[in-house]
């Protein structure tokens, strides 16, 4: 009992610390500064793009992992889930080695299409997708695995081809998990720091997302850092509330 109280206190103390240092009257002023506004806008655009990528590419992969007749499925799953346990900064270094201008792929992209991923907003999206996609894949795969495949067989017996079955039966039946996975991935992308700063750098207006701005502001403008932190805290709370049926109501 005492240990549990201590643990809860451990989680509550930083939160209270943050809240009691907020200068509520100056909050709106801090948040409306051009720097804060830029970081917020960039963060929203990049994390939303990363989430869309995660949904587009993650859904077929989740289906294949759950249902496909895939050789080496366990290995593929481990590779996909690796970014969940990998220190983000290591992920950033890895992305850098693969896609920097001096790497074969990065060089080719730049020579052929003039695309430079490092130190660009596209690089931010990539770093965020790299870190966030596994959360989406694992959530949707679990839902697909838990779904009774006889519903899909029933749909096939009614004359629906595989794509129609997926679109009209499988996807709607796992929709709650798709939404949950997307929200999780988005929250993870929004908070991404290590991989982003390593791979995409810290360029104002281009790659400086909210977490980077918080870190930077801490050196010069503590109230600004706290104000931005509050924004991220509110987002986290919204995520928690939107997923409450999945986690908080567990009995």
């Amino acid at each position: 009992m005492a240990a549990a109280t201590l643990t809860v206190a451990f989680f509550v103390a930083p939160l209270v610390g943050l809240l009691q240092r907020v200068d509520w009257s100056g909050l709106s002023g801090e948040l409306s500064s051009p720097q804060a506004w830029d970081a917020l806008r960039l963060s929203l655009i990049c994390s939303a793009s990363a989430t869309v990528l995660a949904i587009l590419f993650g859904t077929p992969l989740a289906w294949l992992l759950a249902r496909g007749d895939l050789p080496g499925r366990a290995v593929i799953r481990s590779l996909v889930l690796l970014p969940m346990v990998l220190p983000p900064v290591v992920g950033g270094v890895a992305l850098l080695s693969a896609f920097s201008l001096r790497s074969p792929i990065g060089g080719w992209l730049n020579d052929t299409f003039g695309i430079q991923l490092t130190f660009s907003s596209a690089g931010v999206v990539m770093a965020e997708a790299f870190v966030a996609m596994p959360f989406f894949v694992i959530t949707v795969e679990g839902a697909l695995r838990g779904m009774d495949s006889r519903f899909e067989e029933a749909a096939a017996s009614l004359g629906a081809g595989r794509l129609t079955v997926f679109r009209r039966v499988t996807l709607p039946m796992v929709a709650p998990s798709v939404v949950a996975g997307a929200v999780l991935a988005w929250a993870r992308a929004l908070g991404e720091f290590g991989a982003t700063i390593t791979f995409a750098g810290n360029i104002a207006g281009r790659t400086r997302t909210l977490p980077l701005a918080v870190y930077l502001a801490l050196e010069t403008n503590q109230q600004g850092a706290i104000a931005l932190s509050i924004v991220l805290l509110v987002v986290s709370l919204v995520v928690l509330v939107s997923l409450r049926d999945r986690w908080l109501m567990r009995t």
């Binding site: 006889r150 519903f151 067989e153 029933a154 749909a155 009614l158 081809g161 709607p172 039946m173």
Partner: protein
Amino acid sequence: MSLDLDFALVLEKGPRSVQRLDLSIRLVAPEGEVTALLGPNGVGKTTVLRAIAGTLAVDSGSIELEGRLLDRPPDVFVVPERRHIGIVHQDHLLFPHLNALDNVAFGPRARGLTSRQARETARGYLERVGVGHLAASRPRTLSGGQAQRVALARALASEPRALLLDEPLAALDAGTRVEVRRDLLRYLADFAGPTLLVTHDPVDALALADNVAIIEDGRVSQTGTLAEVTSRPRSRYVADLIGTNLVAGTASGSTVTTESGAMLTIAEPRSGALFVTIAPAAVSLHRREPEGSPRNRWETTVAHLDPLGDRVRVQLDSPLRLVAEITGAGAAELDLREGDRVWASVKATEITTYPR
């Protein structure tokens, strides 16, 4: 035009193949008729349906519908969505995210109708099975009987060439069951193709089916009308179903030697391998060796007593493991206990025989 099954299929269930199902099925389901696949649970009835539906491939042999091959390894396998087979499952499997109307419209839509045409068709089918007023309801708000009707409408709306019913009444409570069974009979009468009904309940088979096929140990052991099958049981399962004693033996004149080595005298001379049935009520029990007319008498042990209303079923031990059914008064008079030695007798004229 009918549904013709002649296939073999081995199915291994569980991660370490704990259960092995070895099916070898030969069966013809005629069009416009209901054929019941009747057998104990776990013998592979549902697996037969899955092979017909195409969610399982057969190992050898063929499945043919209206002369069109659906499956014949190694060269023919029609995917489920092109087989035109309607299925009604025990747990109905209505899509939970669609209302009743859209569930029924799913088939017509998948077959290429516009969503407006599909809904119109669906409405017609819902009304035909008497649940038109439930069009807007979600499956989870429907009662078991209502859901089963919607499931039937959904199967029929895709205009299948054959209909498969997998224990369609098993999940319903007794009252609903009688009602749905009665209505099902009416809807099935209108269906032109072959219908295959899987059930473990002989009452369903009797009420709904024109023919029955008994399935045991992965084989179809008997086919015919239910009356034909039950008047001449050829397996322990059918004998138990109608509550009679079935003994396999070989006749020579008026003596039958059973497989356990016991001898029975029969009234009409026969020869060769045959089945013998003896109604439980025709087996009399006595404390002392009976005198007089019965030509079959032997001493045996009471293995088990089973009260059944005002009568008692007495399971006898070797040499002939028959069930005798006596009145409660008779049982009291004999004062039978399990393990008692008794004399059993059967009149020769009470023994029915037919070739094996």
